[in-house]
Symmetry: C2
Subunit: 292 residues, 2 copies
Amino acid sequence: VNWIVGVRSCSTVAQQEVQNSGASHASSAAQAADSNKEEKEIVSYWGVPPVKVVNKDGTVWKWDCFRPWETYQADLSIDLKKHHVPLNLLDKLAYWMVKALRMPADLFFQRRYGCRAMMLETVAAVPGMVGGMLLHCKSLRRFEQSGGWIKALLEEAENERMHLMTFMEVTKPRWYDRALVISVQAVFFNAYFLGYMISPKFAHRVVGYLEEEAIHSYTEFLNELDKGNIKNMPAPAIAIDYWQLPPDATLRDVVMVVRADEAHHRDVNHFASDVHFHGRQLKDVSAPLGYH
Amino acid sequence: VNWIVGVRSCSTVAQQEVQNSGASHASSAAQAADSNKEEKEIVSYWGVPPVKVVNKDGTVWKWDCFRPWETYQADLSIDLKKHHVPLNLLDKLAYWMVKALRMPADLFFQRRYGCRAMMLETVAAVPGMVGGMLLHCKSLRRFEQSGGWIKALLEEAENERMHLMTFMEVTKPRWYDRALVISVQAVFFNAYFLGYMISPKFAHRVVGYLEEEAIHSYTEFLNELDKGNIKNMPAPAIAIDYWQLPPDATLRDVVMVVRADEAHHRDVNHFASDVHFHGRQLKDVSAPLGYH
Ligand SMILES: [Fe+2]
Ligand SMILES: [Fe+2]
Ligand SMILES: [Fe+2]
Ligand SMILES: [Fe+2]
């Protein structure tokens, strides 16, 4: 487990380093020559060197796309079998829409669960970003606090992107995977954007059901691993660092923690939909913490 | 200074609480009645209670829109006078565009610096969100890591929104302020979205220059405070908690830390533009840390 003591204290120290070396790189000559000048003219900020984040044991942190203080241990005790019973028409519409989307996915991917996981994560990372962005803009327009929901949804999006970064190491995308992702993203981003503007209640419910299906898919993935149909290879290094897994962790461990994450997303999104169902606004209800 | 020990450890504990009480609220009856059932059917997630975040001294944290681990002390030693000299045509275009935008703002707000700050923060919170979202979608489409830039830009947006939440306490928006914000956001969001898709180099440069102007405005704000033209009232409670200010902090202290934040944004955005200028991509250069 790699940790740096304190979040802010670390970045403050790091920042000092940046500024010191940045100054010596770029502007020390100019400073010496004309220290009375009203505005220090910087020709290029290129001299700002990247910050070296250091692990507790003194080794250099090797990832830029996430930092030690964003790593965590997944809550494997989370209830995987919770299911929101569709009550009203909107719920049923969301439920059957997701069930209908499952069919082409099943046909297309069949038993290629690694590929399936990778492709579906490119879609899963969209709703959190769109929802967070729309709530952010609304908060600015209405001069209202967020209740923590903007951050919660953005963190969901970042977590889904980390799922993708992980499965990329397991299954390499091919050119037609890339082509598929581009077209699916173009459609899904706009559809979810519109959907969230029209009815956040419906949008969050759809995501809730999508996450229920994701749990199901990852459970099948685990079954295939246990049956030996998929080789249980060592976990990718990025996954070991992100979920604080032991060095000898396997793909099976990774699928376990990813599935626990999806169960968290399911709870957050069904909860958000219920908040709207009860006629309240997200900003008035504190966002759940400790979810990803 | 309010702190909870450890980021993840805190939220893990909090989460356990949620789940325990959530279960007892909503589904304990169902569980007892039919514990063998394959899928636990949840009629409503409404039973998930909000998490109580506790300060070090045992008192309850009073904000939902930010949490203790997002608070920090601003770096007041940051160089306020750095200025990126426009070198090429694109730089000059960005520079003169920002200078031109300054004129109507000066005319409209004149010496109402509190109102000006509030209104400009509603605009300032847009670029980070748009840039972060576009980089996020690009990362998904191309199966590429982010270099930490998505997080850095989203955190800039969150920080700007906290500036707005602070100045809302100082100047209450009136109905025509709200109308102005809605129309300005509609135009600026789309313009920046398009601009960032066409040239992130140009977009980041514009933000860099906007931040230089913001520093200028806040310096004038401080001058008015020092001259006594604006009353130096006690700092809003939200600002004291967010920037870890002493309990007797004043509006002047708040403007000081906000100005330091703007200087950080200036450096991040000029740096991002320079990365593009040198023909490289953001993902290949580690994002600066410790900025907000
Ligand atoms: Fe996922
Ligand atoms: Fe998910
Ligand atoms: Fe700001
Ligand atoms: Fe700023």
